[in-house]
């Protein structure tokens, strides 16, 4: 077996704790009518409530799952259970040659990947039509921005204190108008304004900051031609223009040894957004892989925190290289045995500021910082480094006690998002273990 998966990594793939619980039950050899594995894949047939057993395959290189059961969870309990069994007790599943249903699925997968690659290298079929579409969208966004400008000036005239007493629709109305104008990035900020206005902690500062950022963005978009190409790209991205991933992966990438630092999933309006942070060891480069899923659609689970691999990663255009797409994995996935990081918060802040000066719409960025200690004091929860710099943890962060337990007052290596105001920890590296919080 070339890739060594551990039960802990498999556990981390579970979409929720009830899946894990049922998977625990299926992680028993007796539950599987047939099973087998080879270097590429692991498979088995599990007797469920229907007459025919469910057929489960796991492509071990990523890992990727497939199952014939009707579950809408991903990976489903069968996939998780089989994988758990395999990692805990490899002897219980014998090496075998792939049955037809396994090789069929793997072949389909390979074909899909090849097609995607081909599509990426293809030139757009009709450049003129594409230009027309872009033009139409641009005009749509511009007309939306005219309305947004009016709304913003009205907001300033009535004052934030008055706006705070407005119903939910006050914010939601303009947000959905921005969705109609194909500016979903702006819509997200406007919705966040609504929730800041409804919150209590420091709402005034946070709200005005958000308002001013949206204004800056709107102004930037209306003067797009005067900006550098990189900043144009940043403004477009912040407004919500998307670029097809194939266009990105068609560009040359950056090859490095990438560590998967951690990931966070956020949910807004039926859309789940997964941020996975990678760190390129040789280039000291951060990369953000975004993945979106609607309702119960699966999120990509192939990037496992605490592992690393050689890969070619391509960055989206912008003044700061941050968002990226995976072009090609060049090696197996291996658990990390060491985690490089910044030595103190000064360096983190300097790095973040450098990004901010090039792209003012940057939000959270993940950093690894060594030798820090979680603190609970009169200021609330925070993290201190050895120089005495103390950064606050976001009030909404719910796992402070887990963090405290992991550290026990000793220095640890922390992987955390930082948005210039608050830390949102992702995981802790202590005693040779990476634990997600």
């Amino acid at each position: 077996m070339s890739v060594h998966w551990t039960p802990e990594q498999v556990t981390a793939l579970a979409p929720d704790s009830s899946s894990l619980k049922t998977a625990e039950k299926l992680a028993a050899a007796s539950k599987w009518v047939t099973s087998g594995c080879d270097d590429q894949a692991l498979w088995g047939e599990c007797k469920g409530s229907s007459a025919r057993p469910y057929q489960t395959v796991i492509d071990l290189s990523e890992p990727a799952f497939h199952c014939s059961c009707p579950s809408r969870k991903f990976p489903c309990k069968h996939g998780l259970g089989l994988f758990l069994l395999f990692t805990r007790d490899p002897g219980s599943i014998k090496t075998a040659s792939q049955p037809g249903w396994v090789s069929d699925w793997l072949a389909k997968r390979a074909a899909r990947a090849a097609k995607a690659e081909a599509r990426a290298t293809e030139k757009p079929s009709d450049p003129a039509a594409q230009a027309r579409r872009i033009d139409q969208r641009h005009n749509k966004v511009l007309s939306g921005l005219t309305e947004l400008d009016l709304w913003l000036t009205d907001l300033m005239r009535r004052g934030l204190a008055d706006a705070r007493s407005q119903p939910y629709h006050y914010w939601e109305g303009v947000a959905s108008r921005m969705v109609d104008s194909q500016a979903p990035g702006l819509a997200r900020h406007l919705r966040e304004m609504g929730s800041i206005a409804a919150s209590s902690a420091n709402w005034q500062d946070r709200l005005l900051r958000k308002v001013s950022l949206v204004y800056l963005l709107s102004q930037g978009y209306q003067r797009l031609d005067t900006l550098s190409p990189e900043t144009q790209a940043d403004v477009r991205t912040a407004v919500g223009w998307t670029i097809r991933e194939e266009e990105i992966t068609a560009q040359p990438g950056l090859q490095d040894r990438w560590i998967v630092l951690g990931r966070r999933v956020e949910e807004q309006d039926d859309i789940r957004t997964q941020r996975t942070w990678l760190w390129g060891i040789d280039n000291a480069q951060i990369a953000l892989i975004l993945d979106f899923a609607y309702r119960n659609q699966p999120l990509d689970t192939s990037l496992l925190p605490g592992t690393w691999f050689d890969a070619d990663v391509a960055f989206y255009p912008g003044a700061v290289s941050l968002r990226a797409a995976m072009r090609k994995r060049l090696s197996d996935t291996v658990p990390i045995d060491d985690l490089p990081g910044y030595s103190a918060f000064d360096a983190v802040i300097a790095s973040y500021t450098a990004m901010l000066t090039r792209n003012p719409w940057i939000e959270e960025v993940a950093f690894t910082v060594c030798n820090v200690i979680p603190i609970a004091d009169s200021l609330g929860w925070g993290i201190r480094d050895q120089n005495g710099t103390r950064l606050p943890i976001a009030p909404a962060f719910a796992k402070n006690w887990e963090l405290m337990a992991m550290s026990g007052g000793h220095a640890v290596t922390l992987i955390t998002e930082w948005d210039g105001m608050y830390l949102v920890p992702l995981s802790v590296w202590a005693d040779g273990r990476l634990v997600m919080v």
Binding site: G159, S212, A430
Partner: protein, 494 residues
């Protein structure tokens, strides 16, 4: 006031109420602010806010704190159990299979391993709701757990120390846990601590400390307990007789024996009969010994006194005195006018001095008084159940299911196999319509059933493809629990 505060205030009030005056600032940011040329107050306000926001985001200095770091947790060199074991804990803490928690905690303790640190908050929070688990929790949390509990007020129960120096500062709950542990290893020292605290503590605390003497109770505690009979608090005085009655050599028990010895006379040879004569009133020493004068409703005064006195006499005192078995004595009591008081007194005495012969004899005569089981060892409990299940009072299946469930500790293989066989027979006899008493009560026994018999249990409970729904649900629930227990125990043994 800073430029940002000016802008923020203006934004809060609104330009409609107060026109916006652009702020002035020193340095580079002032230069940038001065370049905002819009005549429109609202736009000017928005642009100024944007400038200052970016300036602050890029330039804000973090807080600095150079005070010494808090003392870190001492090292713990126990190996960690797996994260999967932590998952089992999380599942149980979430409410599923929660009844297996005591067993899991005990198995973790015996494994000598520590829980992965990230699961400590779940464990400590569990003890907040479930105080009966605290003692077991405190045994496994280790240095890291104690360190954590010390900085979270709601987890203070777990701040334990086996260092007596911490006694003075510990909370009452922590002291109680400490005393219980100390009683196990050095009972005299624990009692001395209680005695030393006696004069200054309030009645509630004194009562809680006194209860810890249950652990390793011995004659060495007698002088102190005897003195406590004169305590000023009724709460304390109520606990003392319960403890003294468990010391057969104590002066207290001797006094009780003296009080009733001549008042019970066994007559007859083949047909035994107990004759009882009782005092007209209580004397002061009796009252000091905790005998209450006023009976509960529906009971005569004298019967009530008899009952209380008998409770404190070891039941086998009578067996030895008269050379009769418990069953014979209960029979003899049956023809007495004081039958109820005698038997209830013996019930109380058997609770103090658990004895399987007495339990069986009493339960045959007074079915379903299952509290008596509590004091027996698991072996004795199983023996009693198997014996009783043959007697005619327990022939109904619904009585039987209740009876077998009384053994609330790990079942022996032999006992489990007897139960399983009868369940298998029951299935064959009631295929289409199992009684809901059976299907309702049986799954809970999976918490005591030996996991080694999982496969056999599956075969016996689900021998064919078409059981009734009620039965299927029951069998699945039973097997589910048993399998969970097997996995959780195996994981800790790795």
């Amino acid at each position: 006031m800073s430029a940002w505060e000016d802008i923020l205030n203006a934004a809060l009030i609104g330009t409609g109420r107060k026109p916006f005056t652009p702020p002035v600032a020193d340095g580079l940011v002032g230069e940038v602010l001065a370049q905002i040329g819009s005549a429109d107050g609202e736009r000017n306000l928005l642009a100024s806010a944007a400038v200052i926001t970016q300036w602050q985001r890029a330039g804000a200095l973090p807080a600095h704190d150079t005070s010494p770091f808090p003392e870190p947790a001492p090292a713990d060199d126990r190996p960690r159990c797996s994260a999967r074991a932590g998952q089992h804990l999380a599942i149980m803490a979430g409410g599923e299979h929660a009844q297996a928690l005591p067993e899991w905690l005990e198995a973790l303790y015996r494994s000598g391993k520590q829980l992965p640190e990230e699961y400590l908050p779940i464990l400590l929070a569990l003890g907040v709701q479930k105080s009966d688990l605290r003692e077991a929790i405190v045994k496994v949390i280790g240095e890291r757990g104690r360190w954590l509990a010390a900085i979270n007020d709601t987890w203070h129960y777990a701040v334990t120390s086996d260092d007596e120096a911490d006694w003075e500062t510990a909370s009452t709950s922590a002291r109680v846990l400490f005393l219980r542990r100390l009683r196990a290893t050095n009972p005299d020292r624990a009692r001395e601590l209680i005695e030393a605290a006696w004069a200054t503590e309030r009645a509630d605390e004194r009562a809680r400390y006194l209860e810890t003497l249950q652990v390793n109770l011995s004659m060495a505690d007698e002088p102190f307990l005897e003195a406590c009979l004169d305590d000023r608090s009724k709460k304390v005085r109520d606990i003392v007789p319960v403890l003294l009655a468990r010391l057969p050599q104590s002066a207290y028990v001797r006094r009780m024996i003296e009080r009733v010895d001549n008042r019970l006379i066994l007559k007859g040879n083949t047909r035994l009969k107990l004759e009882v004569t009782l005092p007209e009133k209580l004397d002061e020493v009796m009252i000091r010994d905790g005998i209450e004068e006023k009976p509960p409703s529906k009971m005569g005064k004298k019967a009530w006194w008899l009952l209380q006195m008998l409770k404190a006499v070891p039941p086998n005192y009578w067996v030895e005195k008269w050379g009769k078995t418990p069953a014979e004595l209960i029979d003899a009591a049956g023809s007495s006018d004081w039958k109820e008081a005698l038997c209830q007194g013996w019930f109380g005495a058997v609770e103090c001095y658990p004895d399987s012969e007495w339990v069986m004899a009493l339960l045959k005569e007074y079915p379903k008084n299952y509290d008596l089981f509590e004091g027996l060892t698991p072996d004795e409990q199983e023996r009693c159940v198997l014996e009783l299940s043959k007697s005619k009072a327990y022939q109904k299946d619904t009585d039987w299911i209740q009876l077998i469930g009384l053994v609330l500790q790990s079942w022996s293989i032999g006992y489990a196999e007897v139960v399983l066989k009868r369940m298998g027979d029951y299935y064959k006899g009631h295929k289409g319509n199992p009684d809901w008493h059976i299907t309702y009560a049986f799954p809970a026994t999976a918490y005591y059933f030996p996991p080694e018999l999982l496969d056999k249990a599956r075969r016996v409970l689900l021998p064919d493809e078409n059981p009734a729904n009620l039965w299927l649900t029951m069998a699945n629930s039973f097997i589910d629990t048993l399998e969970f227990r097997r996995n959780m125990l195996e994981e800790l043994q790795r």
